[in-house]
Amino acid sequence: MIPEAIEATKLKEKQTMLHIENLTVSVGNGGSRKAILKDLNLHISEGEVHVLFGPNGSGKSTLVSAILGLPGYNVERGTIKFKGQDITGMSIDERVNMGIGVVFQYPPAIRGIKLNDIANLALKRKSHEVATETRSLASRLNVDQFLQRDVNLGFSGGEKKRSEVMQIMLQDPDFLLLDEPDSGVDVENVQLLGNELSEFLQREEIPNKRRKAGLIITHLGFMLNYIDTDRAHVMCEGNLLCSGKPKEILDAILENGFDKCVKTCLVNTQEQEVEQS
């Protein structure tokens, strides 16, 4: 077998992490209810990191919200399975305790709750030395001086992201959702965060040793210079219209914009459907 095929076989042996089937999600209620995700399918296995591109308003953040189970995102049809279990009706913290973690795009500032309080919260179900781990991570991510400050209050874009990544690394989820990790962050911070996340997602390991999985949402793609990903998808109007190798998809988007990329994809998909039928 050719090496790629061997790798593919090995990947198949891996446990399913996230499995989304025919998912339709709406927001709002009553007459103003509007479907944002339409019949969406997505499968991510253990050890895989996928990237999701898409123009503003295409539904990327809605997908993150639906996976996390934020109230106000109504699952109209379909299921979200995590590690084989249907999580569609679970609360946020139940999902988090199963191993889902998220780096928010716009984390809220909370008066009176210090970053250190959240670090302790993220660690509370673990047995290891809390203070030491917090300190060493905080120092690596250069957020030491924020531990005793109200979380996100007056933090710059880069500071918020570094604090988010510190929290999530303490939480140590099996599946990580990264919602626009590179937006509002300067080049230096993208590099720092990218390298840390790459290590966290075990991208330096050989593929069949990787266990962590992730989904990176981005419309800029800067983070991809530091994190190697397995597969990319393009979201448009609430559905994944195009999937493929991250590099190729990103190049197509950068060269032609989302519209053309999606059009090309649609042509390809139709051709594939014709071939299949």
């Binding site: 913290d93 988090v96 973690g101 809220p108 909370i110 009176g112 993220a122 929290q167 939480q171």
Partner: protein, 394 residues
């Protein structure tokens, strides 16, 4: 119906005078374990070893009074009036007028008024807190208290005062007159914890006089239900470069009617006032958060901040900030925000593993927190310890 202002107008003569025959004790250790526990919750170190002095009054009786430091005088007001002939002449009913309202008039009439006299001696800095407690037992009665607190020139002290009442006590009135004098370059940190009962009417009348370079820091905490409180201390910043900081933490529960505020009259040059209030109203409680800063002196600065969180449709928060400037060289500001608990914040904490209930309680506890960055570390630590005890108990 929600409370109205008229409910606060009481006739003090409807309440009988409090019991003045309760026995004096030699040590706080003589108190019952239950009583000790109650006093601990309002910040009293019952062991008393680490305090600079202790004063305990039950109803109209002085139960215990002890001076433990050479830096401060701590004594019952009657004893102090006997000892210092200047006290009655120059300080008593001076910064709080006798005829202010029906409560001051009533208190001025009471012959055997009780209360504490605390005075830090010139140039002395006392780090250990002076602790006082006013405790009410008698239903239908009134506790009338007159306190005089003087920080002499260049002195510093830290007073922690707890107010509490016996569980289940029927309607009773607390009238507390407090007169503070902060002399040149002196500093008082005054932390008051209120833990009343549902039947208690509370009408403190406090005023603070500040000389040049004087500082007064007031921390006020009320977390337990009360019938009604009306308190609005006034600080006269007469001396140049004097400053006041009022931090207020209110948790309105059940049918509590809590009308609290602070006022600062910035007369001196370069004077400053800061007022920070955090209010949470739940059940059918009403919280009125007042603040007044009057800027008269050159380069006077003031800031008033009120944040309220309303957790029930039967509750009410009314923030009433007032700024009054009479000089082109003043800078006074205010900000106020009242709203419900932010869902987004709860969800964020859930995403870090907290349950919805844990997240809500974290946010409430965090919201009701003081900024101690301006306090000396040891005082900040002690004050936080007291607040933590009170929070845990409520």
């Amino acid at each position: 119906m929600k409370g109205t202002k008229n409910e606060l107008d009481l006739d003090p003569s409807e309440f009988t005078e409090g019991d003045d025959c309760q026995p004096e004790i030699k040590s706080l250790n003589e108190l019952s374990p239950e009583m000790k526990e109650e006093l601990r919750r309002v910040g009293l170190m019952v062991e008393a070893e680490q305090s600079a002095g202790t004063y305990l009054q039950q109803d109209q009786s002085v139960s215990f009074c002890q001076e433990r430091s050479a830096n401060v005088e701590v004594m019952p007001i009657q004893a102090a009036l006997d000892k210092h002939e200047w006290l009655g002449r120059e300080y008593s009913w001076n910064v709080v007028p006798r005829d202010l309202d029906q409560y001051t008039e009533d208190a001025a009439k009471v012959e055997k008024v009780q209360g504490y006299f605390i005075r830090s001696l010139a140039g002395h800095i006392e780090k250990a807190p002076v602790q006082t407690c006013l405790y009410m037992r008698g239903g239908g009665s009134k506790q009338v208290v007159h306190n005089i607190i003087i920080a002499e020139e260049g002195s510093e002290m830290n007073i922690v005062t707890g107010c509490a009442a016996q569980h289940g006590i029927s309607r009773a009135l607390h009238e507390g007159i407090s007169e503070f004098y902060v002399k040149k370059n002196a500093k008082i940190t005054f932390t008051m914890i209120h833990e009343w009962e549902e039947g208690i009417e509370v009408r403190p009348r406090s005023a603070i006089y500040l000389e040049e370079g004087a500082q007064f820091i007031n921390n006020y905490v009320i977390l337990k239900p009360v019938k009604a409180i009306q308190s609005n201390p006034i600080a006269y910043l007469k001396g140049d470069n004097s400053r006041v900081l009022f931090q207020t933490m209110v948790f309105g529960k059940e049918k509590s009617y809590i009308d609290v505020g602070s006022r600062a009259i910035l007369d001196g040059r370069n004077t400053s006032a800061e007022m920070i209030t955090r209010a949470i109203a739940t059940d059918a409680s009403t919280i009125i958060a007042r603040g007044l800063i009057t800027g008269n002196g050159d380069n006077a600065k003031g800031h008033l901040e009120c944040r309220g969180m309303i957790l029930s449709n039967d509750a009410r928060i009314d923030s009433i900030p007032e700024l009054d400037a009479s000089n082109t060289e003043v800078d006074i500001t205010h900000e106020a925000a009242v709203g419900k608990i932010a869902q987004e914040e709860i969800q964020y904490l859930q995403a870090r593993g907290a349950t919805e209930d844990e997240a809500t309680s974290m946010i409430i506890n965090g919201f009701l927190s003081f900024d101690f960055s301006e306090l000396p570390p040891e005082i900040a630590k002690e004050t936080q310890r007291i607040i933590d005890i009170t929070m845990d108990a409520s």
